[in-house]
Every structure is written in structure tokens, then in C-alpha cells.
Symmetry: C2
Subunit: 108 residues, 2 copies
Amino acid sequence: MDTKTVLAALAALAQESRLAVFRLLIQAGPSGLAASKIAEHLDIAPSSLSFHLKELTHAGLLVPKQDGRFVIYSANVEVMNGLIGFLTENCCGGVPCDSASAVACSPA
Amino acid sequence: MDTKTVLAALAALAQESRLAVFRLLIQAGPSGLAASKIAEHLDIAPSSLSFHLKELTHAGLLVPKQDGRFVIYSANVEVMNGLIGFLTENCCGGVPCDSASAVACSPA
DNA sequence: ACAATGATTCCACAATTATTGAAATATGAA
DNA sequence: TTCATATTTCAATAATTGTGGAATCATTGT
């Protein structure tokens, strides 16, 4: 995963509404949720939600799927994992970290 | 880890220079690097680097330590892990994910 | 065809963020 | 003390980003 992709993903997640949307979809699982369902949960104006969904999708974190007049969005777990891998890459230069560092220091 | 902290961390990482700084320090390990060393690696104007170091520190991702006239910065792996945990929390609503999802879908 | 619903686009405005140079602060060395 | 080095602060500017309303597009049901 390259720097540009990672930056886009981080920028997409670094906003209150978008972080909430992403978490909601992570918890919703592979079946995802329609945009209207998301709006219902989070109480965001339609045009604003659409803007945020576009940002997340463009960053690769969400995958939209047309279903009749609904658009079902689901979280793309692979990009999420790529992001985590990138951030923890070569953690501590190979030197073992202390116990609190279990996740970030797992082998790259 | 609460939403505010997570948002601050994401916003701090969602910028080219800061992401590069953080990665450099992750790879440098617990001993960290002086601000001047970071500047040397990444070629950023001093005032700009200082701004970014402050952002990262304020988000809890970096820990500064005065050492003579140097300031040694090191990455805070715990905040990093908290961030990852928050993002992957309740992934897929308990439903097992496919093989590509190993990291994000580890138990919360 | 028409009306109703779900979603997106366009626009203008407000708010936030990044960058740079110059000045200020702090520590160590001559 | 005086000078040089390391870092931060300040101020001005430029660029990016978030928001909500109205209009638009797409799909379904009557």
C-alpha cells in the first residue's frame, strides 16, 4: 500500500462524521447499510452525508453498491488492514517492544 | 480510547510530512530522534517541522524529551495501538470475516 | 406519464490548516 | 560574556475543507 493511498484513507477518517460512518459500517459487516439508514443513525444532512460518503469511497474505505433506488455502502476491510500494516511497518527497527506494544509490533 | 483522541490522532497522521515523521520515529524505535535529525531526513523547514511535531505531540502520538539543546522525539506506540483497536472494534458485528480481514477482525 | 422517494451535484459561505520568513528563547562551547 | 546551534513562536498569506439549501438525476410504484 503506497503513501498516497494511506494519506487518503487517514484524511478520510480524520473527521467526526466520517469516522462515525466508517465505524457504523465496520460494525454492520459485509452486508452494509443504505445511505438513508446511515443518515437515520447519524443525523447528518443528505448533501453533507453524500459528500462524506464520496470522500470515504474515493479513499477506498467504502464500497458502494446500487440496489434499486438505494445505494448500499459497506466497509472495505482490506484497505483498513493495509492502513494498519503501513503504520506499524518496521516498528521499532526490529528491536522487541514492551508488552503494551503487542499490536503495533507484530511482524510486518 | 475516546472519539476525540482518535480523531486527533487521525488528523495528525493525515498529512504528508507528519505521516513521514511518525513512520520515521516508529522505525527509529524507543530511543527516538532529535528534531534536527528528523529535519535532516525529511527536508522540511524548521518552523514547519516544529508545527508538525507539535501537532503530533498534542495528539499523543509523539513524546518529546529535552536533552541538552536537543529535543528527542519518540513515537508513542500505545496511542497507535489504541487507534487501531478503536477502528477495528466490533468488526463485522461478530460475524467471521473472510481471510483477507485477519488483522482488522481479530477480537476487540 | 406522473408522483414519490433515495441519493447526488452545485453553489456560496464559513472555518480550519499548512507554509514561510523573521524574531525570540534556550542551551552549550569558545 | 559572546557566539553558534537547536528549537519554537508569531504573523501574514494561501490553500483546503465542511456545511446546508436548492436543484437535479435515477428508480420505483400508481
